[in-house]
C-alpha cells in the first residue's frame, strides 16, 4: 500500500504496464514535451522515447483513427484526450470503427484501445469543455465505459483496461487528479462490471460514480447525523453495469436515489432507475429519485456553475423524499 494521488496512480500504472508490455504505447496532444495538460504523463517521454510516447497534432479524428489501426495490428495504444469534449471530433472513429471492428470481422480482429482523459465539470471550463458524456458512450454496444472515483480505482481499472481486448472509454475527472488515497501495490487490478458498496446502510440506497461518489458519501454523513442510514453504491463501471449489486441493495433499503453530474434527460441515472424498476419493482416503497446536473449548457460564472452541478444537499433532499420526510 502506498498513498498516491489519483494522477500518480494513473501515471504509475502507465509506467508499470509500459515496462511489462512493449506493445503499450501512448498518444495524445501535449503528452510528451509538455508532460501532459494534467501531468498524468509527466516524464514519460524521457523514459520511453518518441516511438512509445507520441505527441500528436491537434486532430482527434486522425490520431484516434490511427490508434484504432495500431490496436487492430497488435499494439495496445493508450490515447489521452485533453478532455472528453474533444473526443466528440473523433466520434465517428470511436462509434463506427472502434466499437464495430470485432463485430464486422466476425471476431477475428480485436481493438485493445484505451481512450482516457477528464470528463465532467467543476473547474470553470465553460459550456464546451465541462460536459459529462458518459451516457453518449454508454449507449454504444462494443464500448466499455468506466469511471474511477479514487486513486485505487484509477490504478485498478486502468490496468484492466490496458490488458483487455476491447475499446475502453476511461473517464477521469479533473477535480479528482489531486485527490490522495491508499493504492494497493503490484499487479492490483479491478474487474469491470463490479460495483462496490462504499458505505453500508439500511434506509436508502444512493447510486453514484466518479466525483459524485464523494458528494454522495458526504450526503450520507449528513443524513447519518439525522439518524438516516444511507447505503452508497459506487458503480465504478457503467458498461458493463453491475445492476446485481444495486438491486440487492435496493431490495434491502426499498428506496433508491441515483446521482449523475450530467444533464437529466436520457442520462445514466435514467438507465439505472429503469433497471431498478425492472428488477425490484415490488421492493420499492417510493419512486426512484434522480439527482442530476441542470439541463443547461454549463455556465462559466463560478456562482452559476456551482448551481448547475449536484451538491450534497440535493442528495440529502432526494433521500428524504424517498423516505417521505421533509
Amino acid at each position: 500500500m502506498a498513498e498516491l494521488t489519483y494522477r500518480d496512480a494513473l501515471r504509475t500504472t502507465l509506467i508499470e504496464e509500459m515496462d511489462r508490455d512493449r506493445a503499450v504505447v501512448l498518444m495524445g496532444e501535449d503528452i510528451g514535451l509538455y508532460q501532459g495538460t494534467f501531468r498524468v504523463t509527466a516524464d514519460l517521454l524521457d523514459r520511453y522515447g518518441p516511438t512509445r510516447v507520441m505527441d500528436t497534432p491537434i486532430s482527434e479524428l486522425g490520431f484516434i483513427g490511427a490508434a484504432i489501426g495500431m490496436a487492430m495490428l497488435g499494439l495496445r495504444p493508450v490515447v489521452e484526450v485533453m478532455t472528453w469534449n474533444f473526443a466528440l471530433l473523433a466520434l465517428d472513429q470511436i462509434v463506427n470503427n472502434a466499437a464495430k471492428v470485432r463485430y464486422f470481422s466476425g471476431g477475428q480482429v480485436d481493438v485493445p484501445l484505451v481512450i482516457r482523459g477528464p470528463n465532467g465539470a467543476g473547474v470553470q471550463l465553460s459550456a464546451q469543455h465541462s460536459q459529462s458524456l458518459e451516457a453518449l458512450f454508454g449507449h454504444v454496444p462494443g464500448l466499455q465505459v468506466v469511471a474511477p472515483a479514487t486513486p485505487a480505482e484509477a490504478k485498478g481499472l486502468l490496468r484492466t483496461a490496458i490488458r483487455g481486448s476491447n475499446p475502453v472509454i476511461f473517464l477521469e475527472n479533473a477535480a479528482l487528479y489531486g485527490m490522495k488515497g491508499e493504492v494497493p501495490d503490484g499487479d492490483f487490478a479491478l474487474p469491470f462490471g463490479l460495483a462496490e458498496v462504499a458505505r453500508q446502510g439500511d434506509d436508502a440506497t444512493i447510486v453514484a460514480y466518479s466525483r459524485m461518489l464523494h458528494v454522495a458519501l458526504t450526503a450520507a454523513d449528513r443524513l447519518a447525523a439525522e439518524g438516516i442510514r444511507a447505503e452508497v453504491v459506487n458503480l465504478r463501471s457503467l458498461r458493463p453495469l453491475d445492476m446485481e449489486t444495486v438491486v440487492a441493495s435496493v431490495r434491502r433499503t426499498h428506496r433508491a436515489v441515483v446521482v449523475q453530474e450530467q444533464w437529466r434527460p436520457f442520462g445514466a441515472a435514467a438507465e439505472i432507475a429503469a433497471s431498478i424498476y425492472e428488477h425490484a419493482f415490488d421492493d420499492l416503497d417510493a419512486p426512484v429519485e434522480r439527482v442530476t446536473g441542470a439541463d443547461v449548457p454549463m455556465p462559466y460564472a463560478r456562482n452559476l456553475e456551482l448551481l448547475a452541478v449536484p451538491h450534497e444537499e440535493d442528495i440529502v433532499r432526494a433521500v428524504k423524499q424517498t423516505l417521505y420526510k421533509r
Partner: protein, 410 residues
C-alpha cells in the same frame, strides 16, 4: 369477445370482492392464467381466464364487490371495442340465489371510467406486496405519502393496529369527542356473524362435558414421534381428530344434519377443523378421517392449516364437512369452553388444554394430565344419552390410544 364473470365459489356465496387485478387493461391473457384475485365469504381465490386474448376492460376495479355472475372484465381481440348496450346480466347469473342481487345494468362507459380511476388505491409497490402478504385491504389503510400514497410504514402501522384495535392506554377520550368508532367488518367477519346468529337462533343446543385422561395418549404420541425417521411430528390434535372420526362411525346421528324436516346422515366422515385467522376463523375439512392413519391426518392438517393462514384455501377445502372440532388447547390456561354448532353439522367438539391435575385413582390421590372436551349438539338430531355415549367413546379411544392405530380392534 368474452365476459369475465364473478364466479360462484361455494353455495353460500352471493357476491365477491375483487382484491387485485393480476392483469391490466391491454395485457395479453391466456386461457387458464390467473387474472384477478377475489375475496369470497371465506377465502381469497384466483380467477383464471377462460379465454385467450387481450384484457380489454376492467369493469369492477380492485377493492370493489360484484354479485355472482356479474361481468367484472372483458377479454377479446386487441383493440376491439367493448361498448355494448346496457343489458341484463349474463345468463350464468340467472340462478335464483344470485338473481335477487343481480348487478345493476352497466352504466355507459364514459361515466364508468372516472370513478374506476378514482377508486384506484395509490400505494407503493412494496406496500402493495406487504398488504397482500398480510391479507390487509389497502382501501382501508390511510396513506401518508404524496397524494395519499400508502407506504410501507402505513401498512406496518395498520398491521400493528390490527389485533382487536386495542384501546389506547392513558387519558380517557375528552368530553365532546366520539364515544366509539364504527368499522365495516371484513367479509369473513360478516359471514361468521350471520352464520353464528343463525345457529344460535335455529339450532337447539345442548352441551356435555367429559374429562379425558391424556397420559397414555401423550406417551403414545411421544413414542410415535421418536420412532419416526422422517422428522415429522404428530400432534395431540391429530390423535383427537382420529378418535372423533372413529367414534362417529358408531354414532351416525352425530355425523348428520337436520335438513328440511329430515335427518340426514352423511356417508363419509369429514372433520372440519376450526383455524384462527387474524380477522376471523375458518374450518377447512379433512376428508375420510376414519379411513386415514394418524400420520396422514397429521400431514394433511398441517398443509390445510398453512393454506388457510395464507388465505389460499379453495372452496373444496372448506366444503363438505360433517362434524367440527374446535381446539383451544394451545392456550394452556383454557380448561374448557363451549362452542356454537357450525351449521348444518349436528355437533361440534370443544377441546381444552391438557393440564396436570390431582385425581383420585383406586382411592389414592395422584397427579394426571387431563383434558376437558365439551360437545355442543343439535337436539333435533340427537339426545343427551346418545351424545354422552359418543363422548364416552372418544374418551375410551384417547385413553387407550392403541385403538387409534388399530381401529379394527376397537
Amino acid at each position: 369477445m368474452a365476459d369475465v364473470i364473478m364466479p360462484k365459489m361455494g353455495d353460500a356465496m352471493t357476491e365477491g370482492k375483487v382484491l387485485t387485478w393480476r392483469k391490466q387493461v391491454g395485457d395479453p391473457v391466456k386461457t387458464g392464467e390467473p387474472i384477478a384475485e377475489i375475496e369470497t365469504d371465506k377465502v381469497n381465490v384466483d380467477i383464471e381466464a377462460e379465454d385467450s386474448g387481450t384484457l380489454l376492460e376492467i369493469v369492477v376495479p380492485a377493492g370493489q364487490s360484484a354479485a355472482v355472475g356479474a361481468r367484472i372484465a372483458v377479454i377479446g381481440a386487441p383493440g376491439a371495442k367493448t361498448e355494448r348496450p346496457a343489458a341484463a346480466p349474463p345468463a350464468s347469473a340467472a340462478r335464483p340465489a344470485a338473481h335477487a342481487q343481480a348487478p345493476p345494468p352497466p352504466a355507459p362507459r364514459a361515466a364508468q371510467t372516472a370513478p374506476a380511476d378514482a377508486a384506484r388505491v395509490k400505494a407503493s409497490p412494496l406496500a402493495r406486496r406487504l398488504a397482500e402478504e398480510h391479507g390487509l385491504d389497502l382501501a382501508r389503510i390511510p396513506g401518508s405519502g404524496p397524494e395519499g400514497r400508502i407506504t410501507k410504514e402505513d401498512v406496518e402501522s395498520a398491521l400493528a393496529a390490527r389485533p382487536a384495535a386495542s384501546i389506547a392506554p392513558g387519558a380517557a377520550p375528552g368530553d365532546g369527542g366520539p364515544e366509539y368508532t364504527d368499522e365495516t367488518p371484513s367479509r369473513m367477519r360478516t359471514t361468521i356473524a350471520r352464520r353464528m346468529v343463525e345457529s344460535k337462533q335455529q339450532v337447539p343446543h345442548f352441551y356435555i362435558t367429559a374429562e379425558v385422561a391424556m397420559d397414555e395418549a401423550l406417551r403414545a404420541r411421544q413414542q410415535l414421534n421418536a420412532a419416526r425417521d422422517d422428522g415429522r411430528k404428530v400432534t395431540v390434535n391429530d390423535l383427537i381428530v382420529r378418535a372423533v372420526a372413529l367414534s362417529l362411525r358408531r354414532f351416525p346421528n352425530l355425523n348428520g344434519a337436520y335438513v328440511d324436516g329430515k335427518i340426514r346422515r352423511f356417508r363419509r366422515i369429514n372433520i372440519a377443523l376450526a383455524i384462527a385467522l387474524p380477522d376471523g376463523l375458518i374450518a377447512p375439512v379433512l376428508r375420510d378421517c376414519d379411513r386415514k392413519p394418524v400420520a396422514q391426518i397429521s400431514d394433511e392438517t398441517k398443509a390445510l392449516a398453512e393454506r388457510a393462514r395464507a388465505g389460499h384455501l379453495r372452496p373444496q377445502d372448506y366444503e363438505g364437512g360433517t362434524f367440527t372440532i374446535s381446539n383451544l388447547g394451545m392456550f394452556d390456561f383454557v380448561e374448557s369452553f363451549i362452542a356454537i354448532v357450525n351449521p348444518p353439522h349436528a355437533g361440534i367438539l370443544a377441546v381444552g388444554a391438557a393440564q396436570m391435575r390431582p385425581v383420585v385413582r383406586g382411592g389414592q390421590l395422584t397427579a394426571a394430565t387431563v383434558m376437558k372436551v365439551t360437545i355442543s349438539a343439535d337436539h333435533r338430531v340427537t339426545d343427551g344419552a346418545e351424545a354422552a355415549q359418543f363422548i364416552g367413546e372418544v374418551k375410551r379411544m384417547l385413553e387407550n390410544p392403541f385403538l387409534l392405530f388399530a381401529p379394527d380392534a376397537a
